[in-house]
Symmetry: none
Subunit: 195 residues, 4 copies
DNA sequence: TATGAATGAGTATTCATTCAT
DNA sequence: TATGAATGAATACTCATTCAT
């Protein structure tokens, strides 16, 4: 498995740094190679093309991202707690790794539609985690039973994603962790005044 | 005023079409010129450079988009109704103009960070409209009074934006209009079971 | 005769200024038109094309330049005096009009070979003036009678031209007039120690 | 050292030919690449940009030109002989390589002022060679001791340069070598009848 | 595996010139 | 005569990818 080879990871890490620092379009393959300490040609022993580097970056990082969240959630007792945990960990993980946050929220989106479809595939397990919480919440009678799971998941993901993007574009100047509870409350209770 | 000149609008319309059909990166200036029925050089009598075309497209289209929504909302009686109207019109306007939807949801995001900052500026009036609804809802005692307006606005916009993007990426195969009510309900009531 | 029309001269004067200030390649026709206070298209009522403007500038200015020198020389009594007068006036006239000096010594040379042949045609009367002095000097028995007039004229012109070019490139910081006598002495006596 | 790389020299030689044949402005980088038998992009592995090719051509060729003259002169016994040798070799070297003569006398002058300043820097060692002859001649009591070295050098260089340019523009139809002696005589003795 | 020199396709922009008014 | 909006040809340079070593 090529992924166990050290150069593969060197290149992945170099790509995250180079893209975060220079932006997607200024990140030439040769620059990534230099930062990774390998020759330009070596890149092509591990990746098919430049796009493949980007997909692999997302794949590797998202894999870890989702795994940790799935793990964290499994310890929670109900959908409400799981949702909060998911929000907290979503914010926390990206806050902890600003380079990765820049890449996922800004630079990776500067890719063409084909690449975005591949990115969506990689994202699917995360969306499934969200779906599961929704379904579980409904079963637990915490959430309404008339929910359109697909739609609700889009809304939840869109909410979290937009908050992350704003945070990155505001140059990470404020503390996201504090907002997790408000976000959970919004998703669960909405804006209305509770009777 | 250059905006009254017919060629300015011809170029704007051509740009939307060409970008929607070919994607951001395959949209050469010469192709836009051809579609607009003008010479390549004519583009530069009306726009400073290629980026300026893109910004202007967004400016023009978003201007109309926001104006219509602001107008539609003004006829509504309270924040709840206004929110529903905003959601309906947001979905409706982009659904009606698939080319524009593709450009705003997919292609325009493939731009660099500088351009995205300019786009955010153009988007600001729309965000303000959302802010106003939130504030109004609070005053009307329909919405809670402990809301963080900035955060809530991000969540609402993120929700709508993600739904639109999914719809565009799924090739506009389903009817968005039907979902507006569910979305409003989600935003106002959240997921929880009402007592 | 078009040359009596005021706009013709306005354009010529504007061209000298614009070329001297911006350099040959940065001197767009539209800039010359603007400085001359006419529309771009008007230029083409008086000149065939951009090259024609340049040739005409040289023609007009060189015509005056040569006329004055020919006139000044005619008052001198012998070839030696005439040579000195020619040198003095060559230096004086271009020193007095730095814009013209820049155009003739630097910018006009950035033209293609065809244009340079035309420039050489315009220069011919000046070269003839030099030829005449050489021939006269020989007849007066002041200059040797074995001189190759064509070659000697090239040497004299080359000498004056190089001095002017150096003066222009050194940004006209020193006084050329003082050097005329040394130049005349060099041409007449050479470098050798006179017995 | 890049200058030992064969492609560097291939490109230099191709550039001389292409510029001599097509003129400065019609010499596209792609044409030079084609003539040199390399890809367009390869040019940019050896040169920073198009201007850099031109400067390097002049640098390489002038370097050899000056070196040979300096070498030839060193064998001569006094300033008079050295001057003659310099003139002969100046004429000879450029006569032998008409492509180079066209480039140096005509095409390279079609460059902007910045480039000309760089060219002047490259020319400096040649001017110094001339200066040295003047100073030596004075010390040997062959030349007058009141000479303004800078001015005299300009006159000598201008003389040679103008003769070369005329020869190139007359399409190299006559034999320059024969004129070297007359030129030396002019420079040393001037035009006057010797008593 | 690893290298890095070489490749060559691809495109925004300028500006001299025209021509309908 | 005079205008100036419109034209469209023309070109340097980058960078992802290859392949001989």
């Amino acid at each position: 498995m090529k992924k166990n080879k050290p150069k593969y990871n060197q290149i992945i890490e170099a790509a995250v740094e180079v893209i975060a620092e220079n932006g997607y379009h200024a990140s030439q393959v040769s620059r990534i190679a230099k930062k990774a300490g390998v020759a330009d040609g070596t890149i092509y022993l591990y990746f098919n093309n430049k796009e493949d580097i980007l997909i692999s970056v997302f794949e590797e990082k998202m894999g870890q991202f989702i795994e940790k969240i799935a793990c964290g959630i499994s310890k929670m007792n109900n959908a409400e707690e799981k949702l909060l945990k998911l929000i907290q960990m979503h914010f926390h993980q990206l806050s902890e790794d600003p380079h990765l946050a820049i890449v996922t929220q800004l630079e990776l989106r500067q890719s063409n539609t084909d690449l975005r479809l591949k990115i969506n595939q990689i994202l699917k397990p995360y969306l499934t985690v969200i779906d599961d919480i929704i379904v579980e919440g409904t079963k637990e009678n915490i959430f309404r039973d008339d929910l359109n799971v697909l739609l609700v998941r889009q809304m939840i993901f869109g909410t979290l994603d937009e908050i992350m993007t704003n945070w990155v574009m505001k140059e990470q100047k404020y503390n996201l962790a504090q907002e997790a509870l408000q976000v959970q409350s919004f998703i669960i209770n909405g804006l209305s005044v509770r009777e």
